[in-house]
Symmetry: C2
């Protein structure tokens, strides 16, 4: 047992670890022990001052106060520090043929409305039409029937519905849940997403500004694809050619998740057979799920 | 420049550090770089799962939501993880003759009422009377005249005034500010403090319970002593013999800050010349300040 008195910046670490020695759950004990050692190593390595410590306390407090039912500033902080993508990567080792996982992000909502195949999930919203056709398969290409596909994305100005201060939960926009058909396929119509900054009006935005970092994320559509016997796939499909693909503020870009959002001229035939009177985009993508 | 695409749990660290490379303030750049490396090392070392990551996000969010004008749960967390005492220790190297620094804690309030020498700061509060006589000197014993001494402590049940949900700022209890006299001395009357648990009704309490840790702190009185040309001393004086001196929940005990709170019988003569009709305690202590 390490002494618990007269602790200096070196001896205190073993003293704190000793206080966690009686943790009943061995996993929690392992995590707390490692957390304390790394937290203390950090504070010693930079020789943290009391003013800096207090700035950290204040930053965390304001980050907590920024969190609400519709905003998760701690997830945003984790994303911007690369922790989210690190955790995703180490928990989803994938066969090379499988579609890769990326960060979940803070903007998903459970309980979006189920929609029939081909639905327009951007009814009356401004933006260039986007027609998405997609298939869900195993890594060998076998279609997966009845997979559940959650879709969500930002609007043409880069905002999610829940970022609107007047938004209420019964007015979901640019969100839907689809089921794959007997060919493992689903399709929908929406609007072309745009690149956007992560929210910069809170503590995470302050951090990005103070460190001269870009807040931009390349344009993307979020997908969560789940089916029995497969590892649920949470990913984005990024727009090929986006200027922010090499500097995503949350480190989520994977080459296998970049796809061509092909621009079509007005009056060309869209995948649903219509001939939109304005230019539009098409995306065709195959999600390959990793078996469990 | 590290690649910013297809990052795995190893390559992501350099990618994130690279994004902080343009930080204008070199000190902030150093801190963020070290923070990212240690945070990532922790997540890799324990192979943090997504569920555990989310439990961490939820814990931090609830810790933030527990913070208010009168409660600082992040300081409490820092205290309970030994970070606060580590930072205090590495910022206040003291000559052996100087009184040692310990944690500030979350219960201080700026702006307590100045009181004349000898004041009773526990008027009408239940508890055993305590008479404090003290001197403030340099490390060579020279009295320091006109030092400002902030005093605060918990009541006989272990609670600070601001922990009372009905408390308002104009009803400060067991707090005062004194000035040392021409001998460098000050004195006051209060009640004997008792050992107490740090607040256990929030996330920090959950952590202590889940890890089977004691929430108890040994009985103490807080002091902040400041004078021109001396390093401000923030410390506690602990009650000798307290059963929690070897397991302080916030790792703040220093042998040089343990003092005899001597029990006296009813009708003995107190330091102020009175003869209290009930048993009482006396404390005499010399604070030795480190020159800047």
């Amino acid at each position: 047992m390490a002494t618990q008195r007269n602790l200096d910046e070196t001896t205190i670490t073993d003293a704190v670890v000793d206080q966690f020695a009686g943790t009943p759950d061995p996993r929690l004990k392992h995590i707390m022990t490692s957390l304390v050692r790394h937290l203390h190593d950090f504070a010693r390595e930079v020789n943290l001052t009391e003013d800096e410590w207090f700035q950290g306390i204040d930053f965390l407090t304001r980050t907590g106060h920024t969190c609400s039912d519709t905003r998760q500033e701690f997830i945003l902080l984790s994303d911007a520090l690369g922790l989210s993508q690190l955790v995703v990567a180490q928990n989803h080792k994938r066969a090379p043929a499988a579609t890769e996982q990326t960060v979940f992000g803070p903007f998903h909502i459970e309980g979006a409305t189920p929609q029939p195949d081909g639905a327009n999930i951007a009814e009356s919203m401004p933006g260039d039409p986007l027609f998405v056709t997609a298939q869900v398969t195993g890594i060998d290409g076998t279609p997966i029937v009845g997979a559940t596909v959650d879709v969500w994305h930002a609007d043409a100005e880069g905002f999610y519905d829940l970022q609107d201060p007047n938004w209420s939960r019964d007015e979901m926009r640019l969100r839907a849940v689809f089921q794959t058909n007997t060919d493992g396929r689903f399709s929908f119509r929406t609007i072309q997403p745009s690149a956007y900054p992560i929210p910069t009006d809170g503590p995470v935005g302050e951090m990005l500004q103070a460190t001269n970092r870009s807040a931009m994320r390349p344009a993307h559509v979020h997908f969560r694809v789940s089916a029995p016997s497969y590892d649920t796939l949470i990913t984005h499909i990024f727009v090929a050619g986006d200027r922010w693909l090499e500097s995503d503020a949350v480190f989520g870009v994977r080459s296998s998740c970049i796809a061509d959002f092909i621009r079509r001229e007005a009056n060309e035939t869209a995948p649903d057979g219509s001939k939109p009177p304005q230019p539009f985009y098409t995306l065709d993508y195959t999600f390959r799920l990793q078996p469990i």
